[in-house]
Each structure stands twice: as C-alpha cells, then as structure tokens.
Symmetry: C2
Subunit: 192 residues, 2 copies
DNA sequence: CGGATATACTCACTCAGTGAGTATATCGGA
DNA sequence: TCCGATATACTCACTGAGTGAGTATATCCG
C-alpha cells in the first residue's frame, strides 16, 4: 500500500517502504539506494533510477525523509537523504503490519518486510511468517467459501478463483518453508 | 500489455483488451460494459466505472473504437461504442498472442484471452492453453537456471525466486486442469 | 410520497512505470 | 595517448492504473 490516505491497494504494492527501509538502516542518496535495492532485493523489486528519484521527492514532500545537498569536488553533487522521525515511525508501523494474502503482495511487500524485520531481529521475521501463515489460511478458507457461491455458468470466473486458490496454497507451502529456513539460520548463523 | 508503443509490461496488465473484447462481441456503452465485465470476469477484473470511461476515451483517441451519442427520452444520453476495423485487428492480434508467464499476467490477461477465444471457438481456447503450458515450462526452466547463479548470501532474493518458481508450478498445474475442463466442455456441451 | 436503487457519465486526483537525456570522471586497451 | 565504455548522479516529460467523490434523472417498493 502506498503512503497516503489514497490507497490503490488492489494489485498495487508501493515501493516507498522499501526506500524508507534502506534509509532506516543508513542515510543514502538516490543512486546508492538504487544499487542496494538491486543487490539485496533485485528479485523482488525492479525499480528504474528515475522511479527512485521520483519516490524520494514524494517522500520528502510528505516529510518522511529529508535531503541535504552534498557538494563534491569532482563528481556531481549528490542529495543525501535521511529518515525524519515521522518517517521512522511510519516505517516502524509498516514493519509490524501484515500483508494482504495475494500472490503479488506476498511476493513483493511481504518479502520486503521480512528482509527489514530480519535485519532488525530474526525473531521478528519468524513471527511475521507465523502471522502471515494464519492470515493466508483464513483467506484461503474465504476463497473456498466464495467458490461455492459462484454461479456455475461463469466458468472463467471459476477458473480465476481456482487459480487464486492454487496460488494461495503454494504461498502457504512457501511460507512454511520460509519459517524453517529462518528458524534454522537463526540458530546456525546468528547474522545474515 | 497496454495498447501503445509505451509498454510498462512488468507487473502491469492492461484492461483495454477486455473492453475491446466485449465490444468485438457487441457494441455497447460504458455502463453496460462495466456490468458485463463484472458479471463475466468479476473474479479477474476489478474495474471501477470511472476507469471504464477513461479507458473508452483513450481507445477512441487511438481510433480503436468509435462512439456515437444516443439521445434517450427519459434517461441521460448514452454513448454507444463500437469497434473500428483498426480496433478489430488489434484485438485479433492480441487474441492470438501469448502471455508472459507470471502469476499476475496469467490470472488476468491469460484468462481474459481464454474467455474471448472460447467464445469465438473452443478449439482455439484449448490451443492457447497448450501454448501457455509450453511457455510456462520454458520459463520455469529459466528461473531454475537463474536460481543456481544467485549469490547464496542474498537469502531474500533466493526466497523471492523460490516463491516465483512455486507459483509458476501451481500455474502449470492449473493450466493442465484447464485443458481438461475445456476439452470436456467441448464434447459435452458445445456452447458455453 | 419518500428514500433506496438503477441508469449513465464526469472530474480531479495520486501513484506506477518508462525512456530518453544531462554532465562529469575514471579506467582499460589499441 | 586518447578514445570509448562504464560508473557516478540526477532530471524531465510522458502514459497508464486506480481511487473516490460528484451529477442528474428515473423507477420501484413499502
């Protein structure tokens, strides 16, 4: 979800929190954030440079980050951003909240959250996975109920639902395997 | 994919073809299209009325559809749209093309295509499913190759890839079950 | 007869994402 | 030595997805 009253929500996952997340670890400028994002979550996010810069502008307008221009002798000046307290709060709230159980949202938003939760405290990451498993099971139940009430004539609606249910099931399997991985990496190697 | 040189592609599936599709079956106005879409593909698309109207405007600007204002005695005048030949061609091209094997694209774009293909000729729908199965298998192989080349340090990238692979697998299962359903409905009940 | 619901569309907005362009520096190879 | 590729660092103008509220009339039901 995007950071504002406006909430597109359906099918949309906002990259804003990913940037807030990296800034919560360390202040940085746009170019750097692009690199980190690509290196650490490149399989999750595909953001162009220009998108990064435009998001940074937006976040600054909203008062969640603040940038200061750093003159450099040789290279072009860079704008170093750091989180404001408002931004930190916003990010912390997000970090503790849960993701809508849908394929896209889980793949993008949830993994991003997991990444930052883990870097803060591996226990928290495991906790998040547990919660997400519960949410996903609940949603699965819901969809199965809906499936019964669907008119049988609309076979493509049925197919759509069927696919969604299958995908949620594969998400569930994945979450369970994540729980394993995280729980083990916690004992085996205390840091990432 | 959207209808223009501009192609957001990643994570985006354009609702334009859904509207072209319904207009290829019968000319209609915005309100009506919204109803049909909700009834027939409500589990696939969630378009607001305003979105429908804005897409219709765009399609008309692009010359793919043409609207004529129908005065009504009592109710407000409505704008009846029909496909232009350019629009018909564009839609036919799309109908024969294949979908990028990703969860979202399959769930939305592919099912939409299947719906219209089936209404034109059930054989064509089965054919589409076959092709999509092949594409999906190929993509699966690709992702599994990528998985090996991923640095093991980036566990969240790994998780992201793992999830994508699981989802593609569930899509594959679903496609196979679709092939069954469509093949049977073809013999059993020749019309939808 | 009065309020919910159906018909039919408009407008202003935020955010996602693309793609090309700007300007400078550094480093490796013909 | 210099020339082009690559890295640093950011800007701009654009299309399109999606929201949410508003307008105006008609009809139906209790």
């Amino acid at each position: 979800m995007s950071i504002s009253e406006y909430s597109p929500s359906i099918g949309s996952v906002s990259p804003e929190y990913a940037l807030l997340g990296f800034l919560s670890l360390d202040s940085a400028h746009g170019y750097e954030l692009h690199q980190k994002l690509t290196a650490e979550l490149g399989q999750v996010w595909h953001l162009s440079q220009s998108q990064i810069y435009s998001i940074l502008n937006r976040l600054e307008r909203k008062g969640l980050i603040q940038g200061t221009l750093q003159e450099q002798k040789k290279l072009p000046p860079k704008r170093l951003y750091k989180l404001t307290t408002a931004g930190q709060e916003r990010f912390d709230d997000w970090l503790g909240s849960s993701s809508r159980p849908s394929a896209r949202v889980i793949r993008i938003e949830f993994i991003t959250r997991l990444f930052f939760a883990y870097s803060r405290d591996p226990d928290m990451a495991v906790q998040l996975v547990e919660e997400q498993i519960a949410d996903t099971q609940a949603r699965l139940q819901q969809l199965e109920d809906i499936q019964f009430t669907q008119p049988t004539g609309k076979i493509f609606n049925q197919m759509g639902l069927d696919l969604r249910i299958r995908q949620l099931n594969s998400i569930l399997d994945w979450l369970i395997s994540c729980r394993e991985t995280l729980a083990n990496s916690q004992k085996g190697a205390p840091t990432a």
